[in-house]
Symmetry: C2
Subunit: 476 residues, 2 copies
């Protein structure tokens, strides 16, 4: 553990905002809140303007502050007015900063002001448990954390957030499916320190139930039945909510693996990884070295708010993966990506890009007469049947010609008309239909030309692990 | 059913031995039994000479008689004397006909006399249930059948036997793993006729229990627990024996499928199929048409009695099939063959003869710390690991280079030193070690040159169905 604390001591100073930054961020927050207060006054509604999130809690990382300013509406306001007014006020205040809409359960406004991402988010003023919208809990979260986190714990939260960011695990949005800020703070409250959390996570069970407020004291089984996720962190302000519900199973176990790797061989690289970017001339060599097949479906920007785009991209990735597997392709990895402006891509690494001409199709047990008859009627003499059905063990078998042998043909067929029939959601299907390319192996080099963002995605994709380097089993 | 009886009436006359044949066969049997009686007298032992089997029961097919003559020893004779004396007497009587040894549970003598296969088989004279050797039941079988089968039923047995022979399902030996004569006769006793048997078999369950003597009356469940085979035909003279125990599961369902096919479209071809023989110049075209891969391991004669050879060939086929599947090859069919004189072969039809360079290897759940550590220690940086292990879902995954990509390399490796380590039995391993060839696709043509027996095997193998032609889903 001596090594661990040394590394953490070395990393921490780089994460703590200095006085000047604190002053600048708080000044920015106060200025925006003042202008929001004026707009609210003009609206004639009883809306409370509040600073929330990591700046309010003092847990932001140096140089990485986001401002979350909440407009807390009285509960009498109908949903439509709530949405409209919030967007109107937010856009009004941020109008000089090219504001855009974002979306979680309801829309909100975002803009970048002096290099700081500013979110203006509506919620209702309600009592705990009486939630009208998913953001209503946030003011209670902020208050809860402020009352409990000392300066030392705030540093521990910063270590955790940086560790997660460096490894692509920070954020509960559809893009990352990782750890939210409140989840980080709650985990530090539970374990006391970053290092203790890693020790604990190394031995997490399935499910692991964390309940700092003891909402389920003596009835932990109840929590295990109520929530189906492998990590269950009971929201301190809402016993019916799992703070880790947005965390994907894969990302949970990546975190556990990272925790063990860091404890075994602690290194600064876990916080500040060297970035890998695949260039157009490196791709061919990398693929030749591996021997697997890379297939990329590339298309333009999908026309929706960024959160919807990411969520639909993930669903499209899953739908295409399932369809490829149904055709007999072995998919090693799949991932989706967009620069959120011009380009989207779904990438697959496959055991092979071309399948053998035949596939064995197993039929019903010979035992079942009616099923056997149906099977024989269907396959005997069919154009794609090779030879005749035969008895294999206790069942019928038949050799069929594969319809889709090459991954490019399969993908092209899947996305015909956008791929809606396959389960590709509307915005992505529309974008695919407007134009797409399917690139196999080093033909994907063309996408890397002058596109370091995509080069970084592809490097992460092929290394199998986003960004982390120094760790055990987690770099390239 | 009208069609069915027409076909059977047309087929039957060709199956019934005529008076001249009966006379010739009975004359041959009497002559041999007389000489055996003289030999027995000389031996000073109280051995009974008996005619058994299809000739004794009058159920043989015209032109296909086998003579089974039993030497029934008193139970006091020790096993060693029993074996030695039987071979001595049998070989003595058959000495002008080049006798050879065969083997089921114990050795016996066989020779071809005037075109008729003659078996001289020892057994003990014991009371039912008190069996000392597996052939002791035969005299009781013969007596049981003679007392119950009328002339009409004998014809029905002939139809069944010919139907089975034509489709490679007659014989309980290791070569065929099909229906014994006694099983055929018992089935006809149960169903009354060949056509009724086919009707019944079309709807056989799993297990199907047939108990003509009612040994398990009212306790059929007991029989289902005692025997694990899918078809259970209680031996009328031994409630502890299943007459169908040598029938392979695949052959059972082939019979059921054949029964349905015949009833649906009855044809003479089910009894007298046109034979297919693959010639050296036809193989290439056949393989090109299919698109699968044919792999043949060919070697010389195995040095053992023919029953042992077939049994060990089947075991070798299964061992090699399992080994191929373990390496990732998809085996559609496998079969073994020997001409019992010069050549042996094990044939595989595979989805593809060459596998992709990589394979995905799934590791333990990340949850299990000690297992994960072992997995990572083993695979990180190993020579055959591509890239690094990564987390897939809740488990570790790693891409490995395949060691054996081509089926010829795999088979060559499996049979190194004969393949004993893999489970290839001794006599076959010895034969393989004396010399073997591995032939892929049309390179197997060389084996077909001037070898119609092998050509017939290969035609049956690739059609997936031995011999049957006219039937539904069962020919080529």
């Amino acid at each position: 553990m001596r090594d661990v604390s040394l590394i953490l001591e070395e990393v921490l100073p780089a994460l703590r905002p200095d006085g000047a930054e604190r002053e600048r961020i708080m000044g920015l927050a106060e200025g925006l809140m003042k202008r929001l207060g004026e707009e609210v006054l003009g609206s004639g509604l009883d809306i409370e303007v509040r600073l929330e999130g990591s700046v309010a809690k003092g847990t932001w990382i140096r140089g990485e502050a986001d401002l979350d300013i909440f407009l807390r509406f009285p509960r009498g306001i109908d949903r439509e007015t709530f949405r409209k007014k919030a967007l109107e006020i937010g856009k009004g205040v941020l109008r000089e900063h090219r504001p855009y809409e974002r979306y979680s359960e309801h829309p909100y406004v975002e803009a970048v002001v002096d290099g700081v991402v500013v979110d203006i988010v509506p919620c209702y003023r309600v009592e705990p448990g009486d939630w009208l919208s998913s953001t209503d809990r946030t003011p209670y979260h902020t208050q809860y954390v402020i009352e409990r986190l000392g300066e030392r714990e705030k540093d521990e939260v910063r270590l955790l957030k940086r560790f997660l960011k460096a490894n692509g695990l920070y954020g509960a949005d559809a893009k990352v499916r990782g750890f939210s800020g409140m989840l980080c703070e709650t985990l530090i409250l539970k374990y006391g320190s970053f290092a203790s959390l890693l020790e604990g996570a190394s031995a997490w069970g399935r499910p692991e139930i964390i309940d700092v407020e003891g909402h389920y004291s003596g009835r932990e089984g109840e929590a295990g039945e109520l929530f189906r996720e492998p990590l269950i962190v009971i929201d301190p302000v809402d016993r019916n909510r799992n703070l880790a519900s947005a965390l994907s199973e894969e990302n949970l176990w990546r975190f556990v693996a990272l925790a063990r790797a860091f404890l075994e061989e602690p290194s600064r690289d876990f916080f500040f990884p060297r970035e890998a970017i695949l260039g157009p001339r490196e791709l061919g060599a990398e693929l030749a070295r591996r021997g697997s097949c890379l297939a990329i479906l590339a298309f333009g920007r999908a026309d929706a708010v960024v959160d919807v785009v990411w969520s639909q991209l993930r669903k499209s990735e899953a739908a295409l993966r399932r369809a490829l597997e149904r055709e007999g392709f072995k998919v090693y990895r799949a991932s989706a990506w967009t620069d959120e402006e011009y380009m989207s891509a779904i990438a697959f690494e496959l055991e092979a890009g071309e399948l053998p001409p035949l596939e064995l199709h197993m039929g019903p047990p010979v035992l079942k007469g009616a099923d056997s008859e149906r099977f024989l009627r269907k396959h005997r003499g069919a154009e794609d049947t090779v030879g005749e059905p035969w008895v294999r063990g206790d069942r019928w078998a038949v050799e069929k010609l594969r319809r889709l042998r090459r991954v490019e043909d399969a993908l092209e067929e899947f996305v015909k008309g956008g791929g809606g029939a396959l389960g590709i959601p509307k915005r992505i299907a529309d974008a695919i239909e407007r134009g797409h390319e399917i690139l196999i192996n080093d033909r994907a080099s063309s996408l890397l030309e002058g596109n370091p963002k995509f080069g970084k995605f592809l490097a992460d994709f092929l290394s199998g692990w986003p960004r982390a380097r120094g760790g055990l089993g987690l770099g390239r």
